[in-house]
């Protein structure tokens, strides 16, 4: 069986879905952050696949940017979670609900 573009796309879609499911299911802020990283990387697979398929580098360039952005996001996100941990001694997102209604 030859690997076509569709295989990559389906794989990335599955990964994306897993990431989404992780975001929805997990309660710990850190794990949610990791799931989001998974989603971004799933997209990266798509980008690379398309890039190869179209014989271009545009997609791959974008992937580099995405990786950089993901790193920045992770840094900021972890910092925020640390601050929250300072106050609450917990990063359980279900406990962060003082603002509502």
């Amino acid at each position: 069986m030859e690997l076509t573009i569709n295989h990559y796309l389906v794989l990335s879609a599955i990964l994306f879905s897993i990431g989404t499911a992780g975001v929805l299911i997990r309660r710990t802020g850190i794990v949610i952050l990791m799931s989001i990283e998974l989603m971004l990387n799933a997209v990266n697979i798509t980008l690379v696949a398309f890039s190869r398929y179209q014989q271009q580098v545009t997609g791959e360039i974008l992937v580099f940017f995405v990786m950089a952005v993901a790193a920045a996001e992770a840094a900021v996100g972890l910092a925020i979670l640390v601050v929250v941990y300072h106050h609450k001694k917990s990063v359980d997102v279900d406990e962060i609900n003082s603002l509502r209604r």
Binding site: T20, V23, L24, R27, V93, D94, I96, S98, R100, R101
Partner: protein, 643 residues
Amino acid sequence: MNFSEYAWLIVFSPFIGFLINGLVGRKFSEKTIGLIGSLASTLSFVISVLIFFQYSALSQKAPIQIDLFKWIVAGGINVSIGYQIDSLSLVMVLVVTGVGSLIHFYSIGYMHGEKGFARYFAYLNLFMFSMLNLVLGNNILLMFLGWEGVGLCSYLLIGYYYETDYAPTAGKKAFIVNRIGDFGFLIGIFLIIQNFGTLNFTELSTVVAKGTSVGNDTIFWITLMLFVGATGKSAQIPLYVWLPDAMAGPTPVSALIHAATMVTSGVYMIARLSFLYVLAPETMAIVAFVGGATALFAATIGTQQNDIKKVLAYSTVSQLGFMFMAVGVGAFTAGIFHLVTHAFFKALLFLGSGSIIYALHHEQDMRNMGGLRKKLPVTFFTFLMGTLAIAGTPFFSGFFSKDEILWKVFNYSSLLFWMGALAAMLTSFYMFRLVFMTFFGEMRYHEHGGHHVHESPAVMTVPLIILAVLSVFGGFMGIPHVLDVFHVGNYFEHFLSSSVKDSLPIVFGTKEEWGTMSLSVIIAIIGFTIAYVIYLKKKYVPGDDSTIKGYKKVIYNKYYVDEMYERTVISGTIRISKTVYEYFDKLVIDGIVNGVGKSIRRIGEGIRGTQTGLVRDYMLTMIIGVSIMLVYVLVNKFMMIRL
């Protein structure tokens, strides 16, 4: 000098009096106020007398028109403030200003010491102004202005003693009942505008005389609706209920407004529009029978009243019934003639009763009177003249006019004649009952605190005497031709003929005329005799209200008509309004308005619940949104493929 050029002064002289007394009257002394008021009215009288002499000398008695300025102009309405002088309006003006001036003078004495003396005279002058507009106006709208204006003055004057409970209530009742009548009058006006396109009396009569294409049905409705207005103003069934209550006003007011002038304006109106009424025989029949029924009905109530003014009030209603009977059968002249004589004797009777009330310090219950003959000789004598006149004693004024009505009615319908005759008998009865209870027998009034009963001052007795003279001799201007031994002719009918002509065909001859005349005399004597037996011979005095029983109680309570109106129309309307207000206005209409607002807010409150504060819920919502949108795209895609 052509006096008719000054006709506007007849109308505006009282108005000037009203302005002076109304605006600055409070600062004047009673004498000044009274003189201003009375002279304003007298000036009108003098001018109208001058015009009368000039006018009656004319061989060709065409109506004189005095147009002042355009009043309302829009589309089919084009009316001016303008006055019309012809024989009919002149007769009315003379009665109004003549009797009115006498009553003004009388009031100076009667109202002496009352609070609001200036207010009283201002209202009285305003009334004169309105009444003169009513009778002189050359179009129906101006007549309506006077019509409502006199209603207003009546309201104000009935409620003159505003610190009491009953007087303002009676005034309000008068105004509202009149308005109900005016409702009909208005519709009559609309119909005239719609069908004739003019409201001017002369133009209208010209149009009608030329032969109009307007259908009989329409004319029937026009005349009937106008008559509805007349039933209100002239206190006919079913709208008579306000007049007895109107006695709450000062007695001169009752004399002027509720006996001599205002209440007769319905009769005047029909006479004025006689050219229309003759085209609607059905309406005429209704008018005649309503008049007959009122005459009889009110007379029965009059027999059981103990309040001296109430007796006179029902008597007025009854006499007005006679007038309507007359105009209804087409004897317009007879109706107006009775109007004039009635103005004399009824004004006299009211002023006389006023004199009694004045002497007895506002005692009006006849059960507490009696034997006043000696104490109040002038009042007694003049009152007796008035009573003889109204009872139809031969050669007194009431005899001529009432007899003429009965004779004319006999030519129209014998049933109506018998109704009239019976009413005449009752009239004689209750009037003599009144005289006997008041002036004869023992004195039942308890003098107290140094107040002695004594005759009224000259300013009051002189008008009484003048009116007594008119009541006695006033009938001679309209002598029926069977009695016309000197062949002077029926001056009244002759004079009036230039503006109003009878439409009633005389089918019977002289023999029958004599018959009806003698019958009416006999009837008067029967009434007198019964009263004499009961109240003078047996010295019967009705007991307290609680002791009145049986049919007498029903009659004494005016057949409970007021109560019936109160229970059905008035409280019904209020109850319906309250119910509608509570359950429809507040609950339904406002409920919908507020409900829309409230339900929007409630929805808002409801969907606030989605904002749980939990990130996971938010993300789930996002995912659901994403899914729906992606499905939407896929559906679109498949539709594209199908296409």
